[in-house]
């Protein structure tokens, strides 16, 4: 009987851990692009959430055309679409505002509003139909868990690890870090910061779109799907530290774990509010973030 109870408890804990992992992995994917763009260009991209929505809508369109298995196509196409649209946004709007960083915040806010309403106009306000590519459950570590969620965690972990490898072990990553650390100096040693910024912006958009595809089968796909993740992603980067991959990972781990655990006890919105209060209190005592990025200028005062 003791054994039975122990196994039961173990099963519950494992389910909770899997829930936390799946939330954290999505949050990390969304926050990663945001943090890198913020670190490099000093731009808060408020339209980032819309790229999550664009990813989810791409999946919905692909599945309405090609049936359920079009998920695999969308998994590749959606980041490409997201990157292309991000590139367009960078070229058309953000390029004009490099000298006025605070205005980019307002401009991307406007873009997010336009995109959200444009999606509503084109696709209507009702939720879109999206299916997971496979059903069923897998038993892992003594817990039975939906197979799709485990797949999602796997993809997110792989992509994040890939980002980290690129960031820390390639020449391209070194250049990125140089731009984050000191843009003027990076330019002086011959790095094309404009081009690099554009690449990073598109890559961030692609990551957000990928997150959108992955999360779409588990939530209702509406035009304001992304906004929910955006608020959390901001806390992740403010809490975690700017411009560091480790910071945004730790931040998403803290926020995701806290929120999942809270929502076992109280109403989900109340859980969000509690996490918000918690992070505001933490910011008061550790304004530079849990793991500060490698840029001294990016403290909470912003760059001057």
């Amino acid at each position: 009987m003791w054994l039975e109870q122990g196994r039961n408890l173990d099963w519950q804990t494992m389910t909770i851990i899997f829930n936390i992992l799946s939330y954290v992995s999505i949050l990390a994917l969304v926050a990663l692009g945001l943090a890198i763009v913020f670190g490099m260009m000093d731009i808060v991209n408020l339209a980032h959430a819309e790229w999550v929505t664009i990813g989810a809508y791409t999946l919905a369109v692909a599945q309405s055309l090609g049936g359920r298995d079009a998920f695999w196509v969308a998994l590749v196409v959606a980041p490409a679409v997201g990157a292309a649209l991000g590139w367009v946004l960078e070229c058309s709007v953000i390029r004009l505002l490099y000298k006025r960083p605070l205005d980019t915040l307002l401009a991307t806010y406007a873009v997010s509003l336009i995109l959200q309403k444009a999606l509503e106009l084109v696709f209507g306000t009702q939720p879109m139909l999206v299916y997971a590519p496979f059903n069923g459950a897998v038993t892992a570590f003594g817990a039975t868990y939906p197979a799709y969620r485990i797949f999602m965690i796997g993809v997110a972990v792989a992509v994040t690890a890939g980002c980290w490898l690129v960031f820390s072990h390639t020449g391209f990553g070194t250049q990125l870090r140089a731009v984050i650390q000191h843009p003027a100096m990076a330019e002086a040693v011959g790095i094309d910061t404009r081009h690099l910024n554009r690449m990073a912006f598109a890559a961030g958009a692609a990551l957000a779109s990928l997150a959108g595809v992955l999360v779409a089968p588990m939530v209702s796909v509406e035009s304001h799907l992304g906004v929910y993740y955006l608020g959390k992603a901001f806390f992740v980067i403010v809490l975690g530290g700017i411009g560091s991959i480790a910071g945004s990972l730790v931040g998403s781990a803290v926020i995701g774990t806290a929120e999942t655990l809270f929502s076992y006890r109280v109403d989900p919105s109340l859980a969000s509010a509690l996490v918000l209060i918690l992070s505001i209190v933490v910011i008061r005592f550790r304004p530079q973030g849990l793991i500060p990025g490698f840029s001294a200028a990016h403290q909470l005062l912003g760059k001057r």
Partner: protein, 357 residues
């Protein structure tokens, strides 16, 4: 001790001598007063109530202009305090049956407390610029979620209905302001009084300190001003004004729904101040009234069109009008054009005079 306090207070609120730079505001304010008295005789009661609702938004714009225009604190969630004021007023009157005057105090207290707590933790930690903006936006999103899901208090998606209008009982005399005419006078008087007070405050030494903080906070701190404290105080005052607008809105329209927390309204507030001109006090109020009336006009054709148009306007404003439409600069430009034209007319003579050398 008392003498010293009085001296300090006198120093803070002391006004410079009136000069020609005060003329635009004084004239605008007098025009506003004239409009408040004249408008009820010119338009129908329904149109009057539409303008009144727009004027409440003008008060909101004024409170945001104080924060963003005068002290340079950008927030994306200023309507949190509008909503808190409105919900505070609604809950106090409908659920607890309080008189409107004490309900307004409750609404102000709610918004003021939240602003003080959030502001203390963020502003004292040195959170500024982008970070303050995005955290305030997250506060707004969460307030919206709470307003929708906490059904027993906020009434969920439908909100709270049947909020009584404004009325006051004072020393045995009761004053009913719930009719269209009465509420118009109440709202217009509050807006005019607030505009006058904020103008006086910004004109005094305190306004100079705020301007110093907005231009360069490090330098202002080096001059010995506790900038975080000043910003926190201004943040709370601005939140209180927004909450007052929320109370008036709830009392005038009779309903409060989670819409007040929508990011759309928060966007509009920024647009009003950006178009009206940051820091001009009068401009944002006019812009708020004009845009709210325009919004109602457009929404009667299509509800989808307005948000799209709003986004486009907003983008255009940020890209091409970073300082807003400035009436004063417009006048200066006109003068320039006039001078250029007259100068061109005078040119032939000048050339002849030059040729004589």
């Amino acid at each position: 001790m008392f003498q010293r306090l009085k001296l300090h207070a006198g120093l803070w609120v002391s006004q410079p001598r009136p000069g020609s730079s005060d003329l635009p505001f004084a004239v605008g304010w007098a025009l506003g007063l004239l409009l408040m008295l004249m408008l009820p005789h010119c338009v129908a009661p329904y149109a009057l109530s539409t303008v009144r609702d727009a004027l409440v938004m003008g008060l909101l714009a004024l409170s945001y202009d104080l924060l963003w225009g005068k002290a340079g604190v950008l927030t994306l969630g200023h309507t949190t305090f509008l909503g808190l004021g409105a919900y505070g007023f609604a809950v106090a009157t409908v659920h607890f049956g309080l008189a409107p005057v004490s309900a307004i105090l409750i609404g102000l207290l709610c918004a003021g407390t939240v602003a003080a707590v959030v502001g203390y933790f963020l502003l004292y930690a040195g959170v500024r610029l982008h970070f303050f903006a995005i955290v305030s936006m997250a506060v707004l999103i969460i307030a919206q979620q709470l307003a929708t899901s906490w059904q027993s208090v906020t009434g969920g998606d439908t909100g709270i209905l049947g909020i009584p209008g404004l009325s006051a009982t004072f020393a045995g005399h009761s004053l009913d302001l719930s009719s269209p005419l009465g509420s118009w006078y109440a709202v217009a008087a509050v807006v005019l009084a607030t505009a006058c007070l904020t103008w006086l405050a910004c004109r005094s030494r305190y306004g100079k300190v705020l301007a110093a903080i907005a231009t360069n906070e490090w330098r202002a701190r080096a001059c010995g001003y506790h900038t975080s404290f000043h910003l926190l105080r201004l943040f709370v005052i601005s939140a209180l004004l927004a909450a007052l607008a929320g109370c008036l809105m709830a009392a005038c329209s009779g309903v409060v729904a989670p819409d007040v927390f929508s990011p759309l309204l928060a966007t509009e507030v920024i647009l009003w101040v950006a178009v009206g001109g940051r820091g001009t006090l009068g401009g944002p109020v006019i812009a708020a009234v004009a845009f709210t009336l325009l919004k109602q006009r457009i929404s009667s054709y299509s509800t989808e069109l307005w948000p799209l148009l709003l986004g486009a306007l907003f983008l255009g404003c940020v890209l091409f009008l970073p300082n807003g439409l400035r009436f004063r600069r417009g006048v200066i430009n006109l003068r320039w054009v006039w001078r250029a034209m007259t100068a061109r007319r005078a040119l032939p003579g000048a050339r002849r005079a030059g040729g004589g050398q």
